[in-house]
């Protein structure tokens, strides 16, 4: 049981990450360093946090693509609330408000999907556009700076030798793994995704479960903002833009079926690490200025190759 679980996409993605690290380290020895591993994990932390929530949404056959825009709004609001140039609220109060904002937007998304019966891709696409608009209003085309050190420690502080963002990401992953694998609530979510009709007939609260996943994703997006936005001295208007692309791709690369019912938190987290690696890898390969315009194509090609290799490998191995 334990081993059959491991013989899935997680192993494939973990293997690919390992292979990438080995190959790149051979080309450029500087890649293989503790500092680099630390930086990569910090960079992947917000993605891993949000992927936890998104995995649950996708497992239940829905989607959310408003996370990047929500991140932008959370960052703008956080900046306005905490900055000494603006409201100068205590950090704990501002963090609480931002988390509530994230959960609130998640709730609206969830209500649109469950009560409003709007297809989730359309509901969250609308939300994405609206949130970008609101962030632009809040930011008014300027930057926000002048933050207290206590806020900045969310992103650049450490507990022992572990960076705060990495610690928070690990805690989120552990909590969601426990939720999905060891609680009835988690198992019901998978049941909803694999056979919504049967789940409803069995009396599962399908709509409430979906609502919960959207609220959780919203709150996690706000949390991801808290541990990434204060990384810098200033908050800019474009914060978080296109972040949803990374997370959605990572969740799918990590083995979550876009049609629902299948997928794991660990797989999604590994997917985020793999995708976060790509940009770093391209820099370490030292392809030079001439490769500048190839970067996107290489990134895309890498993702397609990763998924394809896994599919081919699994067919040969007798798994599907």
């Amino acid at each position: 049981m334990m081993f059959s679980f491991l013989r899935t996409r997680e192993v494939a993605v973990a293997g690919l990450i390992l292979l990438t690290i080995i190959v790149v380290s051979c080309v450029n020895g500087d890649f293989f360093s503790g500092q680099n591993a630390r930086d990569i994990l910090i960079a992947a932390a917000p993605g891993m946090i949000v992927a936890c929530g998104l995995t649950l949404i996708i497992v239940m056959g829905e989607i959310d693509i408003s996370m990047g825009a929500l991140m932008g709004l959370c960052a703008a609001v956080l900046g306005k609330l905490v900055s000494a140039d603006h409201a100068a609220l205590p950090v704990w109060a501002a963090s609480f408000i931002v988390l509530a904002l994230g959960a609130g937007i998640g709730l609206i998304n969830g209500l649109l999907v469950t009560v409003g019966k709007v297809p989730s891709i359309i509901a969250t696409l609308g939300m994405l556009t609206a949130l970008i608009g609101v962030s632009d209003l809040v930011m008014a085309g300027s930057t926000i700076g002048n933050f207290p050190d206590s806020l900045r420690s969310f992103a650049i502080g450490q507990v022992g030798f572990i960076p705060v963002p990495v610690l928070v990401a690990v805690l989120c992953i552990v909590a969601c793994v426990v939720l999905t694998r060891y609680t009835p609530l988690g198992r019901r979510m998978y049941a909803v995704g694999s056979n919504p009709h049967a789940a409803r007939l069995a009396g599962l609260p399908v709509q409430r479960l979906k609502l919960l996943a959207f609220v959780l994703t919203g709150a996690l997006t706000a949390l991801a903002t808290l541990i990434s936005a204060p990384q810098l001295d200033v908050i800019e208007a474009g914060f978080g833009r296109q972040f949803e692309l990374l997370v959605v791709t990572a969740v799918v690369v990590g083995g979550t079926s876009i049609s629902g019912g299948m997928g794991t938190i660990i797989g999604s987290a590994l997917g985020v690490i793999l995708l976060s690696l790509v940009r770093t890898v391209l820099i370490f390969l030292q392809l030079g200025v001439s490769a500048t315009y190839w970067e996107r194509a290489i990134q895309g090609g890498f993702i397609i190759a990763a998924v394809l290799a896994d599919h081919v490998g699994r067919k040969r191995g007798g798994h599907s």
Binding site: G145, R279, I283, G288, V289, T292
Partner: protein, 339 residues
């Protein structure tokens, strides 16, 4: 080609001369005739933001120095082009002498600008240009060439060496302004600093997190990296933070184009030595002088030079008057600017 050479030459001069000018008592050869007065309406893209406010201060200085000049500084506080157009219409009815426009949407403003011209009001543009048939002159704060070269020269100066590896963190690979600057930067490097090697150009997709990570990775992948250009207002602070957190302030130099407020902390803690931008006060000052010269007919099409008094002689290329005074903010002067 001659145009390019001329620009190279003047941009060097601009860098050498640095700030200066607006602190001394301004004298200028542009004068207002005894007994007459002139009213200039100055329209920013958006009123109430520090950048334009500081331009307006320069315009007021010019008006004060000349006497008999009234500058009306007004614009939409929300940056709405429709409101900007209605302000031009209002000023047309009121009968001002010159309207200097920084168009936030040239096509929306065009009818109002043309209507004003038909009434005999002189229209010029400043800060941003509009279609040539809607204005007589454009006061251009800096060409792409000048900006690119100023950034290269500033970084080389901060590096204190004319060799080593440098990299660029740009906005997106499709950003037209940035690409024009990059071309100018490459040309400048090849031309004047052949031993400086440009190892990478990386987009940050206008996301400060990505700018931060890219700069972090560049420093690790190229341990000998001497300098980074952060050439957008997002790329610059993101990359500066990466240098600071890596403890490489002083080892890896960074410069770029940004407003002083966004970079103040990094300049004060020594991570950033130079921030490139044009002198906003001088832009306002020059706009008023050009407005007067256009009104009284001393600046006509075909001119090649414009005498801007204390600001010096400014080149006129086609129908553009070039400010040619890029400003380098350093820890010594950055506190004088608040925008």
């Amino acid at each position: 080609m001659r145009y390019l050479l001329a620009l190279c030459a003047v941009s060097v001069l601009a860098l050498v001369s640095g700030c200066g000018g607006d602190s001394e008592a301004p004298k200028t050869t542009v004068t207002v005739k005894e007994g007459s007065s002139i009213t200039i309406a100055l329209l920013p893209k958006k009123k109430g933001i520090a950048y334009f406010t500081s331009c307006a201060e320069g315009a007021e200085e010019a008006a004060k120095a000349l006497g008999n000049v009234t500058v009306i500084y007004d614009g939409p506080t929300d940056g709405s082009p429709e409101k900007a157009a209605s302000m031009i219409e209002k000023w047309t009815l009121k009968g001002v002498d010159v309207i200097a426009v920084s168009p936030n949407d040239p096509s929306v403003l065009a009818p109002a600008m043309k209507a004003a011209q038909a009434k005999g009001i002189k229209i010029i543009t400043w800060d941003a240009d509009a279609a040539p048939d809607t204005r007589s002159f454009f006061i251009n704060q800096a060409t792409s060439q000048q900006i690119g070269e100023a950034m290269v020269d500033a970084l080389i100066k901060d590096m204190g060496s004319v060799e080593g590896q440098v990299a660029i963190v740009t906005a997106t690979l499709t950003a037209a302004n940035q690409n024009a600057w990059i071309d100018a930067m490459k040309a400048r490097l090849a031309d004047k600093y052949p031993k400086v090697e440009l190892v990478a150009i990386k987009p940050c997709n206008e996301d400060q997190k990505i700018a931060f990570q890219v700069a972090q990775d560049l420093m690790k992948a190229y341990p000998d990296l001497k300098g980074i250009f952060g050439i957008s207002s997002v790329a610059f602070p993101g990359a500066a933070e990466a240098i600071k957190q890596a403890g490489k302030s002083g080892q890896v130099q960074i410069t770029g184009l940004s407003t002083p407020n966004a970079m103040k902390n990094y300049v004060k803690d020594g991570t950033v030595k130079s921030v490139v931008l044009w002198n906003t006060k001088q832009l306002g000052f020059l706009t008023v002088l050009v407005a007067i010269a256009v009104k009284d007919g001393t600046l006509k099409a075909g001119a090649t030079e414009f005498d801007a008094g204390t600001l010096g002689k400014k080149p006129v290329v086609g129908d553009q008057v070039l400010l040619n005074n890029l400003l380098i903010f350093t820890k010594d002067n950055i506190d004088q600017f608040d925008f």
